[in-house]
Symmetry: none
C-alpha cells in the first residue's frame, strides 16, 4: 500500500490574514516523487498544547510526518518541545550541535544569544540534519510506521535541507519506485500562450503528469513519469517531452530545473570568452543585479551604469543631448546610444540597455506606461527591440529585465 | 474568554505541489475583525473518513468551525456527509432548497443532473445560506460552543457568502470585541538579538498578542490587542508598544506595515530636497534597484555605477590605482573613494558605496567571504563601516544592500 504523509506548518504568523504556508508545496513535490501521498496539511500556531496534540494525532494516522517551522531560538519556537511531548521522548543537548552553533556565531563575528542553545537539543534517537544556511539544525527520527522530521521555516534554509538531507533519508524508509522527470525552463512567451501551444500534447497523457508553473517572464514545465522500469519511464518522458521541446524551440532556455536565465548566460559568455556591461534607466540596476547574482560573475560582468537622469545619459554614456531632445529619453535611438556608450566605456564585448516607462506616472500616447526599449550593442551591430507590458511597476521592471537577458542569450546562441 | 476558530479547507487538489488553500485568508480576516482567533487550519482531501475525523476533532476543540469546499454535486464532494457523521446528525432534504435548485437550472436553461439533488440536503437544525453565484447553498448551524458553517470552495461563490451571510450570523453568537493593532518595521538587528531584547516585555502579556516576522535584514513586530472598548485596547497597545519602541530606538524605521526601507528613505530625501547616487561592487546594482523600486524615484535617485572590475573603479569613479594596489579593492579607503567618486560624478547630495566579498570564492584572512565595506559620502564628510555576514552569497548581497540603505537613513535622520 502507498505510504501516506501529513505536513504541519507551524507559526502564528501563518494564521494571519496576510500569510499562508507555501513551504508545504515543495515538501509535497518531493514526497510525491518518492511515491508518498500527502493526505492532510495542518497549520498550527505557536501554542505548545495545540501543537503537541496535532503532532500526536498525525503520527498516529500517517507514516511520514513533516514539521516545518518553530525551530528558531525564541520563546515561541516550540516545535522541538511539542514533538518530544507528543512522542513521549526527552530532548537532549547534543554537544556536537552546540559546538557547531558556537563556531557558526564565531564565524559571523556575533555573540551567541543565550536562548540559541535551545537549537542544540535533539529528540532522543533523532539525527541532526545540517543547516548550512541558518542556526537551526533539522531533525530526523525513524519511527515504527515511517519517520518524523523537523525542518526550519525560512524557505532558504528549508529547501536545501529538504533536498540534500531529508529526501535521501526518506528513501531508506520508503519502498523504491521508478520515477523519472524532465523539465523545461522557458521565457519569451506568456502563460496562456504556452498552454494553448502545448496542452494539445500533454492533455493526451495522464502519465507523465505535466505541470506548468509561472512567475513573471519565467515559465517552467515539469514532466513526471512513473513506471515499473526505468526504460519504460524514460520512454514515456521521451514521447511527450520531445513533442513539447519541438513546439517550444529556442524559447526553452534550460532543461536543468535549477538553472536560471543568468546562469545560462554566464555559461554562454564564458564559452565565448566574452564579457558584458549594462546601461539601465527604468530597470534601475536590476539587469546588473541579475547578471551578478551567481558566484564568479566577475569572469564576464564588467560594469553597469544606472543613468536615471538625461544629464547622466549624456555625461556618463555620451548619449548626444540632441538625440534626447529630438526623440525623448525613452526611444529607440537613445536605447541604441546607451548600449553603444556602455560598450565603449566598459570595453565589454556586449552591452545591454533599457529605457522605458515603468510607471505609475509618465508615458506618452505612443509609448505609455509599460513601454520599454531594450538595446544590445555587439562587436558588429546594435539592435533595439520595443516591448510593452501592463501598467504594474514591479512587473514592468521584472519583465523588462528578463527580456533584456533573453536578448543577450539569443544573440549568443546565434554565434 | 476569546473565542477560537478552526478552518478546514477541503479538496484533494489542495494537497498537490501546485495548489494551496487561499480561501482561508479572507475567512481569517473576517473572523479576526469579529475578535475571533484562528488557532488552526487543516487541509484535507476528499476522503470521507479522514474528513469526518478532522471535523469531529475541530468541533471538540474550538468555538467556531468553518468548512470550505466539497459542497458540489459530484461523488467526491463529501463535506455534508462528513459533517453529519462528525456531529451525529441526519441530513434532510429541504423542499425549499430543492425548488431553488430546480428554478436555478431552469433559469440557466440547463437540465439538472440527478446528483445535484445532494445539494438540497441540510444538516438537521442548520440554516441554508443562499448562494447567488452557484448551485451549492452554504449551511450555518448554531452549536452549544459556537457555530459550524459550510462555505462553497470557488472564491467567487465563497467570498460574497462569507461577507453577506456568514459574518452577520456569527455576530449573533460572538460577543462584540474591539481589535487594535500596532506595527514596527525594524532593521540593523538580528532576529535572536531582537527577541532577547523585547521578549522580557512582550512575554508578560497575552493581550496584546505579539508576532515577530523576519526576512533577511528586515524584521517586523506586530501587536494585536483585543478588548471590550477602543479605549481599553488602545491602552493595552500603548503600554506594550511604548516599552518596545523605547528598547528599539532608531532601529525602528517605520510604524507603517506597508512602508519598506526604500520608501522611508524616499520621504526623507524629498523632505530635505536631497538626491542620491550609488557606487556598487559586490551588491551588483541591488542598492540602485531598491532605491528605484517605487514610482517617482527619479525625484531623488540620480545615478548608479556598478564598477565590478578594478579598472572600472579607476576609470569611471576616479579611484586612484595606487589606493587599490596598496589596500586592495575591498578596503575602507577604496569604499570611501568610490562613494566620493560617485558623488562627484553624479552631482548627487549623497552617495552610497559597497565593496566586499559576496562569495563563494575570494576573500582574505582579515576580510573573508561575507566582509563588506559600506561607504557614504555627504556634503560634509565621508564615512565607511565594515560589516560581516555569513558565507551565503544571496544573504551577503541582500544584507549589505539593506545595511547600506540604513546607513543613508540614519545619516538623514541626524539632519
Amino acid at each position: 500500500m502507498a505510504k501516506t504523509a501529513e505536513i504541519l506548518a507551524i507559526g502564528t504568523e501563518l494564521l494571519t490574514p496576510q500569510r499562508t504556508d507555501t513551504n508545504s508545496l515543495a515538501v509535497t513535490e518531493h514526497l510525491n516523487l518518492l511515491g508518498v501521498e500527502v493526505v492532510a496539511k495542518h497549520i498550527i500556531g505557536d501554542d505548545r498544547d495545540r501543537l503537541t496534540q496535532a503532532i500526536r494525532e498525525s503520527v498516529a494516522r500517517s507514516n511520514i510526518v513533516i514539521l516545518i517551522g518553530g525551530l528558531g531560538p525564541t520563546e515561541d519556537d516550540l516545535t522541538r518541545e511539542a514533538a518530544a511531548g507528543a512522542l513521549g521522548l526527552n530532548l537532549k543537548l547534543s554537544l556536537e550541535q552546540e559546538s557547531i552553533l558556537i563556531s557558526r556565531f564565531r564565524q559571523i563575528n556575533r555573540p551567541m544569544a543565550k536562548n540559541n542553545i535551545k537549537q542544540a537539543y535533539l529528540l532522543e534517537g533523532a539525527e541532526a540534519m545540517p543547516n548550512p544556511n541558518g542556526s537551526a539544525p533539522g531533525q530526523f527520527l525513524s519511527t515504527d510506521r515511517g519517520a518524523l522530521a523537523m525542518l526550519p521555516g525560512p524557505p532558504r534554509e528549508m529547501k536545501p535541507m529538504l533536498v540534500n538531507e531529508l529526501v535521501p533519508r526518506l528513501r531508506h524508509v520508503i519502498p523504491p519506485q521508478v520515477i523519472r522527470v524532465r523539465s523545461f525552463r522557458i521565457t519569451g512567451i506568456g502563460e496562456s500562450d504556452l498552454d494553448t501551444l502545448i496542452a494539445p500534447v500533454y492533455t493526451r497523457y495522464t502519465n507523465p503528469v505535466t505541470t506548468v508553473l509561472s512567475s513573471p517572464g519565467d515559465l517552467f514545465v515539469f514532466l513526471r513519469a512513473q513506471a515499473e522500469t526505468e526504460q519504460r519511464a524514460d520512454d514515456l518522458l521521451r514521447e511527450v517531452g520531445n513533442a513539447i521541446a519541438e513546439l517550444l524551440g529556442d524559447k526553452v532556455y534550460s532543461t536543468n530545473p535549477d538553472e536560471p536565465l543568468e546562469a545560462v548566460i554566464g555559461c554562454l559568455l564564458r564559452k565565448h570568452h566574452a564579457t558584458v556591461a549594462t546601461a539601465e534607466s527604468c530597470t534601475g540596476g536590476l539587469i546588473a543585479g541579475r547578471l551578478t547574482e551567481r558566484g564568479g560573475s566577475s569572469d564576464f560582468f564588467v560594469a553597469g551604469y544606472v543613468t536615471y537622469s538625461a544629464a547622466q545619459k549624456q555625461q556618463v554614456l555620451g548619449v548626444p543631448a540632441s538625440l534626447i531632445q529630438k526623440h525623448t529619453a525613452v526611444s529607440e535611438p537613445v536605447a541604441a546610444a546607451m548600449a553603444e556608450g556602455a560598450r565603449r566605456l566598459s570595453g565589454a564585448t556586449y552591452a545591454l540597455s533599457a529605457t522605458g516607462y515603468a510607471g505609475p506616472d509618465g508615458g506618452t500616447e505612443y509609448d505609455p506606461v509599460g513601454a520599454v526599449y531594450l538595446g544590445i550593442a555587439t562587436p558588429t551591430e546594435t539592435r533595439v527591440i520595443r516591448v510593452r507590458y501592463g501598467a504594474d511597476r514591479y512587473r514592468v521592471r521584472t519583465l523588462a529585465t528578463q527580456a533584456s537577458l533573453d536578448l543577450l542569450r539569443k544573440t549568443l546562441l546565434k554565434l
